[in-house]
Subunit: 261 residues, 4 copies
């Protein structure tokens, strides 16, 4: 028989696949804190032939995102347990064949369909518990996306808090940050089933948004704290200097990429 | 020694209390489906001296709410795991001493601080898994709050789906529904610690919003399905006729009530 | 109409009640770490007329429990999402009218039915994430309940780790500890719905196991670490000196108590 | 630089990897229900060159497992949030090059490290909520592993219940079932990052337990119910005839496999 489905479990109909095929649509809010760490710590996360970016090589972005997402059918939107997820991810820049790429080095999400998309896209996803303050136009229990609006964001995994940030918006901004602004250069890697064998998959891929729209970005001040954990190295990317913080509402379509190496 | 704190656990400082004292602030989105069931099913949920409402006594509202909430300090907003929760609740109307009240007969929330507030307010809260589609201004993975916007909402508890709704917005509305529009008449009840003893607490209280602001309400069409469970009686409030559905963004302050009986 | 049910939501049948009436049956494993803290920190948690215990007044027990529980019908056991829960609780001793009582000052559980039982029993429950190593007779991924068996235990709430312990079993023990060995003296407390009003409920109750059976207790060495949190005061009960640690499998029936004051 | 780690995220130290390298140790309890379905439904889940097993080709096993697991360091056992997980999986048999294999066609787990191991082993894992009654030697809230012991087991995903079973033990058994008794033949599959491209990985692998020990297996009677879901096809494997049910405590080591095709 033939089995179908974008990903496992694959069946005659394809209906059981953990995720449908791209394009994937996303609507959500991004809270970004950019800072500088020791470039040596960034270099350690870049397997050859990737190298440090030429400019500001120690720049890091920690990004919280509160997403609703769906496939082309949009059916997930009416069963929102299948559409909503949150994530916190850490992006650095790197250089490959003379071009600058963004690269996600750590990422935590809170749904399995998000983990599965990450397998395809090369995001190194773990499960975490992620929260970020939501703006709302009414009442006293939410900031507005406006001067003075204050947003908190936290990340935990395995019952340990790993990161927390507080951002206070100051003024409209032309961008939502620069570290996550390039095409992504990611590895997709799976070891051999045979102990000691060559990897079954080890490829470098590039991808980026197929479509992008966004509201007015805001810039602000940020505090960012990273915490130690026996199973994480996020805190090794020590916060030496805050560059800036950003809030932006975006709509994104992702629809595949290409193999680089 | 004296112990302090609005609720347990009470300590010398009061800092450990599961919830701080009111006022409590809420900012969030309400998705309401109103329908008619057999008034006899409503009557069964009204302990004397409460009686069926005079008009439309079988009217029921099932309401999903996606909240951010905080105390007067607003400190929870910067640690949003302590501020955000979702709920699904079922409201009927009743009559007491010639006045019409709303009454929450079933409610599920997803955080302990929300359970604790419910103890105080007389909401009969259980834990559940609650989801509702979020509007967003950008991208294809969210409806807008506008004509044609489609929202899904689901409720589960103990790993069983209990309710699901789909609402399609049609036009602006002067209200967000009528069933949940009165002061709430709730019981606060705790059995005696002694088997067979008289209840330690059994009082009827009234409360309502101390402050309320809201955006434009929208009216729409709805489908609503209720499912059986061995530990729930929600499905006994059978959907005989859909009255209408509403979407509204609101800001609310709650700050206590008064004892009725 | 009359409504029935041991607790909310109360209905004509009583079937929706978050918990059925006692007796409640428990089968589970207890991991106990006992230590001494400054008695002044214990005294702060004892509202008058409770006073410090005469002997070893600074003794504290932190207890992890991995429970299966049910009502007299035992029907929960065949739908185990309704029967299984974990908890971590902190017990001190106190004196009332010349008698020594145990008293739970902090407790975290992971299910709503456990929160509801605590309302009745006077346990000041919050939700948490609780884990303790399970013994198992086969394979390398579990200790045995035997000399050298090592057990870990952790507690987190609101995405912060609050406590962690490691216990290594050394020898059989005549007891599973002494701090949690007395009848419990607990308060049941609910504020007035009217701001500034006298509490609606503020009573001191006593309860304990109606039946108890247990396997061989084991004694061991322990490490215990408590962590700060903005909403908790557990770490204020500083670990000055470890007294001992215990592992025991138990079966318990709880069936009500009596009012002390 | 070189990056290390068995799986993503890979770093200079390898410490961040979602899972350490095998061997992986497991200690846990297996509840198995075996039944017959239409062999055509099994055949639909077997991509060529796999074919139906020669004998009893419609046999299916639904297996619940309550695991504690660790790597060779065993460090996860002292931080049990990293060691404990539950799963429910569905196994059929198939034939490849004249040999009979077992094959997991659907599986749900409740931790990310378990998902990650499944990527390596070819188990098509999704997240779910899984519960099974635990035996315990004391008290009335647990069965014993003995004649008359009754165990319940449930599976849910995306807030919908997918399966539930009740098993009553009758007598000791020489085996814990036959459907899951062969080496596993699994696919590891990842689509091309380029839309329409050939799969990046599509291999057939074989693996099995490197070490196995177990207690006395018990056989019993079973009820098994499978429920529909818009994203699952488990219910298509209709229960035509119950073969038997088994309870067994096991210890397993898994340490890699080999590529078949």
């Amino acid at each position: 028989m033939d089995v179908r489905g974008f990903l496992h479990p694959r069946t005659a109909t394809g209906r059981s696949s953990l995720i449908p095929s791209p394009p994937w649509h996303y609507s959500g809010d991004l809270l970004t804190v950019e800072y500088r760490t020791d470039p040596a710590r960034v270099a350690e996360l870049l397997p050859a032939p990737l190298a440090l970016a030429d400019e500001d090589p120690g720049a890091v972005a920690v990004i919280w995102a509160d997403w609703q997402s769906c496939s082309a059918s949009r059916e997930e939107l009416l069963d929102p347990v299948r559409a909503q997820y949150k994530e916190c991810f850490v992006v650095v820049r790197c250089s490959f064949e003379g071009r600058t790429y963004s690269r996600c080095v750590y990422i935590w999400v809170d749904k399995d369909f998000a983990i599965a998309r990450g397998l395809h896209q090369g995001y190194p996803k773990k499960l975490g518990s992620i929260h970020q303050t939501r703006p709302h136009p009414f009442g006293g229990a939410a900031p507005r996306i406006a001067e003075g609006g204050r947003f908190g964001a936290t990340l935990a995994a395995a019952d340990r808090r790993l990161a927390e940030a507080v951002v206070t918006l100051r003024e409209p901004s032309a961008t939502g940050g620069f570290v996550n602004g390039h095409p992504m250069a990611h590895h997709r890697y799976l070891p051999s089933i045979e102990p000691g064998g060559a990897p079954a998959l080890d490829e470098l891929i590039e991808s980026g948004a197929a479509e992008f729209e966004a509201g007015q970005a805001w810039r602000g001040d940020a505090e960012l704290r990273l915490f130690e954990s026996p199973t994480e190295e996020l805190a090794s990317l020590r916060v030496d200097e805050i560059i800036g913080a950003y809030y932006r509402q975006v709509g994104v379509v992702w629809n595949g990429g290409r193999r680089l190496a």
